[in-house]
Subunit: 760 residues, 2 copies
């Protein structure tokens, strides 16, 4: 039954808008009478705020509102509520907002910001997460234990550790004793920025009854609504979050609470005038969000045949000045830190640690790039040491259908890991080309999804058969509007052209947890499928009466309901709606999905996952030993997507994920100076790969259907970026025999390592 | 069960926004990069368009688009599709748009309009509807018979009659023969304007895929969407109508197709830039909509005891240059033209006639003010002639529960007419005050509602128990948001404060036929009640599991679900949603209503009505016989509302309706010059009553519950304005013995009549 839409490569429904430049982004939304906001930002990494003098700023004509932290005692956050809208007693990183101004022109707001005098008393700052964990380190959040937090989060008293989690399985000491080889290494990852082309922008308006409307690009409109309501201690009904029609890239950087909080506290003082704030590129770099840098110690016991036997890991996620998504990033990364391998004895400790740096938040991969880097680098080191083929050792240890997650949480289902490894490796050139320093590398991984989480959808069928899908899924660039269109068309039995997919508006579009964690195709897909079934059932009920055929004897295709036994006996959706005594009423179908399995529903952010994604990347590159420059020639990305709803957007995800992985492997790094100031806050100094840096990319879709996924589908978005850095590092080792353990792999590090190797 | 909200007087939920001036109207919506539209309008009442030269206008910098009628061959209309977006071959009234310009500034658009040269060839124009009906009258729409129309509409070939309808019951000739007295009179009503404070405004934007978004104040967003899609011959999914947050008065004047059509055809040429048009006050007066002026011939046969025995009526509704709502106004008014009386023999002919005047459309009362004026004036003439009390003759003839509508359509239910008459009359002063020319008058009436028509509603319950009601009901000033809030609170068992009511957006809010015909409390009320029940049932299902009590053993109050047998055993909505394994998912309840009774569902705009409203007005006034000036002292308005959901807004409707009735009785009239030009297109020259003109008003709510109405409620909005003019005329007759049959009752007319009376 239904139209054949699922599984077909489709042009994105928003393609025309984007290529013509008509797509409208947050900064382009029009507001009459808007005010423009600018923030006063801390020049210190850690300092007490002694006083703020706004008197000179207030004198400036056009300044309509000024707020400081002490007036705005709101604490927000999803997992741990430590995020101050504005710093009140002290600042914790360079760039933290301490006051904000709304004025009739951005230039006036800027001038007012310059006139605000803040007196600070500097405090010892700490930038290194390992040092921050030491006893006696300066405390960044003295009130840590007073912050509200989710039950799953465990802050450590009198420390900078805002979350510590431990997973144990088997007996790791025994495991090491039984091992033939022990490997112990340390790895680090750097700070990287999401580098979305669209800067962060928000507009807030507060009405006469104190109802707040926020227009902002956020990957979780309903989550933001809840976070804001909780922080402001008002009912959710008083907060409305409206997404702009388009979003210019997110990758996790547009989640959480950000500058919309400043717009809100200013808008509370502007007598109903909307307050708009658009971050400058420098502000995006210095005061939005970054990926958690990490320090990982990994110790692995291996049997001589290559079987992994015991693994102990300590992962430190450096969350910067505020926890933001840090505790849950830590939770999600730590549970998967052993890698997708059968290991009987496991001990993993994850720490989320404050430092006086820019806040780290969600970033495509959510804690997994930090743990795949060590386990996949070390896997090749083990293979090399044992004289085993890197592909074979992975296949030998790879988890399979029915295996338990190494950290012990749940039994795995829909496990396409081996297929991914084999498909990626199959693309290896048979012969080494005639290049002197040519290398091949492979890495794999798996990633969980936030569980349990829920999605709702509503489908409206109008009088002429036009269909509107109401969903809070965010079109973040990934193509979800196209995928949900295909799903609706398939399940309703209509043409895709007749379907409109909404942009989220928390007052109008039903709940969705967030467009994160690669969860939307799976969760929202299920909700949409249900809603479509529900709507179709109602159409069938009416058609059954008109055609005088039992509803279970009906089929649907191309928007026509027909009798299964006599296809000439049919009626169109439009005819059903227009002419059969419903007085113009639309049909409303609804659906909602959340995982039902109690095993994965232990509680929000508990460790089980309703599905796991698997992927493997194979890399070919060459190294210029004179300059240390790496030229990546080819990357093959094989990913288990369960079922590709739109193969074209799945391939797009793989291409984009690999590009982002390539950037963090070789080029990107936010550099912090001694005083805590970011040294390269621009695209001139922060190097993201461009089209010129792109190697040949071969995306491969592996389909191991998930029993609970819509049409078998799982997620794909995040996993695509996880294996690239270790695959590149492994290929570099293959090319020139040096092992780099600290990202990014710069020419300098390669040259230094080559030199050290020569010296040995 | 439930909270006690229904039946309680409540402050309007939007009161704070309105009194603080923060409420945002269409003209205040912000759009970046907007263009401004102005129209070239016809100076002739009837003329062929020979040519249009836009070349000079095109040269003007800042002009971005120009359209003319021949480029835009779109015909729209709800009942009869004769409405050209822009005049193409000929113009049919002074003020009709023939071309439109979009420019970067309104001033540039204005200048461009001045530069457009249109060559006309004048045609004979016709302004009098009676003359327009004569054979050989100049045809205003030569292609009348080619226009698409609803089955119920009957245009007359080779004429200016776009709809003729006849209702017969009994044998009118026999009836007249059996009558003791025959009364035969002619009455007319004038052109009046809705005079909403907010002028008409619209913005349209067309995206790269040709999808149209229109922001416009319209009392039927879904109807407008359908009308536009049909006119443009595109699927409804390509049209989205978004209502601005507030609407500054409608009264029917903001229905139909208006200047948003110009914005759309311009926006098709602006490469995605939105096009905004705000009518000037002069344009509102000359080129928006007015109430149909009418000419009514009424012949009544009466038994000597006062029983009405036969009635023959010919009603002519003058719809101006285009049919707009004319055919259905004619249909609705004609069916009720005999008045709310038992009359065995009836013949009614209704005609909707084109003339070369401004287009007439919906106006509070929808054809009924035109028919109540004659039947209620004549009723007093009959009473006077027969020496009967005007109250008693009405009570003697008044329809009652179970009676058939005089024109024969259906059996009446929920008939509070007698109560209204008695309640209104009960307020008569016992003694005539010592004023020389003091008079009392009474009039009554009934009004139907568009049937069948449908409404849908969706209720979303969020995690903390906040409730959003998705509805396309338009807050037109009548207080519907407050009423629907009360209904939701009552049925869900929650506090009103926790409820948000949406503003319509056809992509997101479910179907509603229109906010017209006094239908929304009844129809949408039923849909909302169902949606609330549906949502509550789902909350109970979960609560039943948590409380371990059968769902039918649960009650709800103040947002808490409790066990009927043990009220201490309870759980809040928030707790249900947040903590009981739904992973944050909201609950979605849905409801939809349309009349089920086949008797009233014969087809759209067929004559039966799912409910009838009844009302009676009692007036006290004095007449200054020197000047002819009437001072209205008191008006009592008693209305059968079925059940008052919010007595306060019901009383507001009565006050507003009476004010509007007073205006059309005494002051208001659009005057048309010999060449068809409107002579008084401003509030300086067109006199609406002000606060100073307001008499004491005593609103009385009669409650005769309707079995199908939500909590028994029916509509009220329109009926409140219907009886005022005849009640005033009857009181004037009572005061000074002159009978004015042509509205408005100006001092000149009174003086002239007094003079004629003296002369007799």
């Amino acid at each position: 039954m239904g139209n054949k839409s699922v599984g077909k490569a489709r042009t994105r429904v928003d393609a025309r808008e984007k290529v013509t430049g008509l797509a409208m982004y947050a900064d382009e939304l029009g507001f009459s009478n808007a005010l423009y906001a600018k923030a006063v930002r801390s020049p210190h990494a850690h300092a007490k705020i002694v006083g703020i003098d706004v008197s000179e700023a207030r004198k400036l004509p056009g300044v309509k509102a000024i707020v400081t932290g002490r007036e705005t005692p709101y604490l927000g956050g999803e997992a741990l509520k430590d995020y101050a809208f504005l710093a009140a007693e002290k600042v914790r990183y360079v760039g933290e907002p301490v006051a904000a101004v709304a004025a009739t022109l951005p230039e006036i707001a800027e001038e007012a910001v310059d006139r605000i005098k803040v007196e600070y008393q500097e405090l010892p700052a700490i930038f290194d997460p390992v040092a921050a964990m030491e006893t006696g380190a300066p405390l960044i959040h003295e009130g840590l234990m007073d912050y509200a937090h989710l039950p799953v989060i465990s802050p450590v008293e009198n420390s900078n550790i805002c979350h510590h989690v431990q997973f144990l399985n088997g007996d790791v000491e025994k495991g090491f004793k039984e091992s033939d080889h022990i490997f112990e290494d340390s790895f680090t990852t750097q700070i990287v920025q999401h580098a979305a082309i669209e800067p962060h922008a928000a507009v807030a308006q507060v009405d006469a009854s104190g109802n707040i409307t926020v227009w902002v690009t956020n990957d979780g409109p309903h989550r933001l609504r809840k976070d804001l309501a909780e922080a402001l201690k008002i009912p959710m009904k008083k907060v409305r979050v409206i997404m702009p029609p388009y979003m210019g890239g997110g990758f996790g950087g547009k989640g959480g609470l950000k500058m919309e909080t400043l717009c809100i506290v200013l808008a509370m003082k502007t007598g109903g005038r909307p307050v708009k704030m658009v971050l400058t590129r420098q502000e995006v770099f210095t005061a939005s969000l970054v990926r958690h840098p990490s320090v990982v110690r990994i110790k692995t016991g291996v049997k001589k045949d290559g079987r992994l036997w015991a693994r102990e890991i300590k992962v430190i996620y450096d969350t910067g000045a505020y926890s933001e998504k840090g505790p849950t990033v830590c939770q999600q990364g730590t549970v998967a830190a052993t890698g997708p391998y059968k290991i009987p004895h496991v001990k993993v400790d994850g720490y989320c640690v404050y430092t006086n740096k820019i806040v780290a938040g969600a970033f495509r991969g959510y804690g997994h790039p930090q743990i795949a880097w060590p386990h996949e680098s070390q896997m090749d080191m083990i293979a090399h040491e044992l004289g085993l083929d890197p592909v074979k050792i992975r296949l030998m240890n790879a988890v399979e259908e029915g295996d338990v997650v190494p950290t012990g949480q749940q039994i795995l289902h829909s496990v396409g890991l081996k297929e991914c490894i084999q498909e990626a490796a199959a693309h290896a050139r048979k012969n080494t080309p005639k290049r002197k320093y040519f290398g091949r590398g492979l890495a794999c991984g798996y990633k969980n999804t936030k569980t349990p989480s829920g999605s709702s959808a509503i489908i409206k069928v109008s009088q002429d058969g036009s269909i509107e899908l109401l969903t809070s899924a965010v079109e973040i660039g990934q193509g979800i509007k196209t995928v949900l269109t295909q799903m609706t068309a398939e399940e309703m039995g209509v043409h895709e052209e007749i379907i409109t997919v909404s942009t989220p508006d928390t007052d109008l579009t039903p709940y969705d947890a967030s467009t994160t964690s690669s969860r939307v195709t799976f969760h929202m897909g299920n909700a949409v499928k249900q809603a479509a079934q529900d709507a179709r059932r109602q159409v069938f009920q009416i058609a059954s009466r008109v055609l005088e055929v039992e509803a279970d004897q009906l089929g649907v295709k191309d928007g026509k309901v027909y009798c299964l036994k006599d296809k000439n006996k049919s009626i169109s959706f439009a005819d059903v709606l227009k002419n059969h005594c419903r007085a113009g009423i639309d049909i409303v179908g609804r659906g909602s999905y959340h995982p039902q399995d109690e095993g994965v529903c232990a509680g929000p952010w508990s460790s089980p996952s309703v599905f796991w994604m698997y992927g493997a990347h194979y890399v070919e590159l060459e190294v210029d030993v004179e300059t240390g420059r790496v030229s990546v020639l080819k990357i093959v990305g094989a990913h288990d997507v369960g079922r590709a709803i739109n193969p074209s957007t799945c391939e797009g995800q793989i291409e984009g994920g690999i590009l982002q992985g390539l950037g963090s492997a070789l080029y990107e790094e936010i550099k912090i100076g001694q005083n805590g100031r970011i040294l390269n806050p621009s695209f001139l100094d922060y190097k993201v790969p461009t089209a010129c840096d792109m190697p040949q990319i071969i995306p491969i879709l592996v389909e191991v259907p998930h029993k609970e996924g819509p049409w078998g589908a799982k997620g794909i978005g995040e996993m695509t970026t996880v294996p690239t850095p270790p695959a590149i590092a492994n290929a570099i080792y293959d090319a020139v025999g040096v092992r780099i353990k600290d990202l990014p792999i710069t020419p300098e590090k390669i040259l230094r390592a080559l030199k050290q190797k020569q010296e040995r």
